[in-house]
């Protein structure tokens, strides 16, 4: 069995659907594991935030979106970008700062952009993407287009004023936004109960009058089901929905973070619920996955990422003369 390195996920219920989800999660995981090495080797610099442990969320949400839909993400967005269909090559080159990167190398890890897949970044300001998502959805509504805008943000972002303003505005104006809160229990070193007066995030969201559901973010099938039913509902009545994905990051907040604020035991407990292991177990039990299948998937993923890394190494940097290009558009009004 072999899969191609894309973000195509076979439809639910169809043959290969779970295999595709597994492949996607493996791909994201492996991509980031390699990034760690590349960071140590100083090929990747700046801030880098890993998604390891949270792969089920991006992997489960993206199949619910169509190419007409839009995605707004955060600085922890490798997984979102890959699952949305930005190629591993373009993402890796971006992290190397090469001109073949999805943002010409200008953005790095925190600022992945891709017009082709309607991937609107990559935002390093916590909460900063929410108003953009509201606006993207507003434009879709005003132009009578069918798009849904999926907006990812963390539990920490819920404390920001923009969270509140954006939920209110999207609900008030009935805009097709899928708010995807990735609750990994921490904002940097601050545990959710030391940042949120009420840790019941769906209750908070529901107080605006929008439907809010909490989902096991370690179960990719549960994530997908929730995302599909939410996007269908949005397409149906045009109103926003809020999903809280309960998940966990195994790694430190960023490469700079010595991770002093958590118990090893807590991390271990979450690892027990690893979304990849869980799906593998599930598929094995259902007789859908042999050891050979798994090795095959892993080999595919490795080959794809090896190629992406090789291409990133080989690629050129943007010439320094282009430094100020595109501060403004080059066509004049």
């Amino acid at each position: 069995m072999s899969v191609t390195a894309t973000n195509q996920i076979a439809p639910t219920g169809q043959d290969g659907h779970r295999r595709d989800l597994l492949h996607q999660m493996l791909r994201i995981r492996r991509f980031e594991e390699r990034c760690v090495e590349l960071y140590s080797a100083e090929h990747i610099r700046g801030f880098m935030h890993l998604y390891i442990g949270e792969e089920a969320v991006a992997t489960g949400v993206m199949p619910a979106l169509t190419p007409q839909d839009a995605v707004v993400s955060t600085y922890r967005e490798h997984g979102h970008a890959l699952a949305r269909g930005v190629t591993a090559e373009a993402v890796m080159a971006e992290m190397f700062g090469k001109v073949t990167g999805c943002s010409l190398g200008r953005g790095g890890s925190m600022h992945l952009f891709d017009a082709a897949t309607r991937f609107y970044g990559g935002n390093a300001i916590v909460g900063g993407g929410l108003p953009l998502a509201v606006g993207l959805a507003l434009a879709d509504r005003m132009r009578d287009r069918q798009g849904v805008t999926a907006c990812f943000f963390g539990d920490g972002a819920v404390a920001e004023g923009e969270f509140h303003e954006s939920l209110n505005l999207a609900t008030l104006w009935r805009l097709p936004v899928l708010f995807c809160c990735e609750n990994n229990l921490y904002a940097m070193g601050t545990r959710i109960d030391r940042a949120q007066a009420s840790t019941d995030l769906t209750g908070r969201a529901a107080s605006y009058g929008l439907e809010a559901t909490s989902v096991d973010g370690m179960d990719v099938l549960a994530v997908e089901t929730a995302a599909r039913s939410a996007t269908e509902a949005i397409r149906d009545d045009g109103r926003p929905r809020f999903l809280e994905f309960r998940t966990y990051r195994y790694r430190a907040h960023s490469m700079y973070d010595p991770d002093r604020y958590r118990d090893k035991a807590e991390i271990e407990a979450w690892r027990e619920r690893d979304p990849i292991d869980a799906l593998v177990r599930h598929m094995r039990e259902a007789g859908e996955l042999t050891d050979r299948d798994l090795s095959g998937l892993e080999a595919d993923v490795d080959a794809e990422i090896d190629a992406a890394i090789a291409a990133a190494h080989a690629a050129a940097y943007e010439p320094v003369e282009d430094l100020t290009r595109f501060v403004y558009a080059e066509v004049s009004p």
Binding site: A70, V72, G101, C102, S103, L104, G105, R106, G107, H111, F113, D114, A115, Y120, G121, G122, N123, I125, G128, L130, P131, L132, A133, V134, G135, L136, A137, L138, A139, D140, M142, R143, G161, E162, E165, S166, N168, L169, L172, R325, F326, V327, Y328, A329, E330, V331, P333
Partner: protein, 321 residues
């Protein structure tokens, strides 16, 4: 005769008639008609989808304007006054100004943000800022400051045609300004304008201080000093050519700017004149700015804090005398 307010309104009306992607959003632009009555009557013509009242959520409705602009619309976002734009500054600086460059030219933000600026109406410390100079510091933005009725009308269409974000600063004391709307076509938003020719000194002003500079020039003329008055019009990018052209002829310059003196836009103009026309100067460039104080409410203190024609005359006297 047309007022500045009407000119702005008619410009919005014309833009909305011409392009269905254009819409207006902001606090109380709808039934209220806009705090300064600029959008009065537009709701009736265009309906609530295109004349959109927003909740009091500056950061989010400005951010939503950015998102909508990235997704095919041509929003005009009205932020009631520059004082409240501080709440939306992150969206303007970190998103609107940055997205094109940061995304490697994949996304642009063809957005127009309008806001009232300035003092002079006894609105005290929190409602009297002149922060357009701050915005002029930000690469990725274009900053306009219409100081005449013609510019109030003519700057909007090219601002909307600009593929990048444009901020328009309307000085609060200008809305009742009456003028001939001679030219109903788009104006050039790249150039400063010489509003009064003169040979002895260059007075550089914009928006709310244009009148101050022109009044001072009249007074100076009575004293036999002919001041050239330049209206910057566009605060970013600055039109150095017009400024330097004038200074090279007059050899003296005074900048009149309602911002607080330290760190004002006037400082930037002064630095540029030094850099580009130093050897043409017969006297140090001077600035007439606002006193460095949160604006007090009483009229006598507010007027004392603001740049006055007499202050300009005195500055010129110091350099010519």
């Amino acid at each position: 005769m047309t007022t500045y307010r009407e000119a702005m309104r008619e410009a919005i009306r014309a833009a909305m008639r011409a392009d269905e992607r254009v819409f207006l959003m902001g606090e109380d632009v709808g039934p209220y008609g806009g705090t300064f009555a600029v959008s009065l009557g537009l709701l009736e013509e265009f309906g609530p989808e295109r004349i959109r009242d927003t909740p009091l959520s500056e950061s989010t409705f400005v951010g939503a304007g950015i998102g909508a602009a990235m997704n095919g619309m041509r929003p005009i976002v009205e932020v009631m006054t520059v004082n409240f734009s501080m709440l939306a500054l992150d969206q303007i600086v970190n998103n609107a100004a940055t997205l094109r460059h940061m995304s490697g030219n994949q996304f642009g933000v063809p957005l127009v943000i309008r806001m009232t600026t300035g003092a002079g109406r006894q609105l005290a410390a929190q409602h009297s800022h002149s922060l357009e100079g701050w915005y002029a510091h930000i690469p990725g933005l274009r900053i306009l400051a219409p100081g005449t009725v013609t510019d109030a009308y003519g700057m909007l269409a090219p601002a909307l045609a600009d593929p990048d974000p444009v901020l328009i600063f309307e000085h609060g004391t200008l809305y009742n300004l009456d003028g001939e709307l001679d030219d109903q076509t788009a104006v050039d938003i790249d150039s400063a304008a010489v509003r009064r020719p003169g040979r002895d000194v260059t007075l550089i002003a914009y928006g709310g201080t244009l009148g101050t500079a022109l009044t001072a020039a009249e007074q100076l003329s009575g004293d036999g000093v002919e001041a050239e008055v330049i209206d910057l019009r566009t605060l970013r990018p600055l039109d150095d050519e017009t400024v330097m052209g004038s200074v090279r002829r007059t050899h003296r310059a005074v900048i009149v700017d309602e911002g607080w003196r330290s760190g004002s836009l006037a400082a930037e103009i002064s630095a540029r004149i030094t850099e580009q026309a130093f050897y043409d100067l017969d006297a140090p460039v001077d600035r007439v700015c606002s006193a460095e104080v949160p604006m007090p409410y009483p009229r006598h203190l507010e007027q004392a804090a603001l740049p006055q024609p007499d202050d300009v005359v005195a500055a010129v006297a110091r350099m010519t005398g």
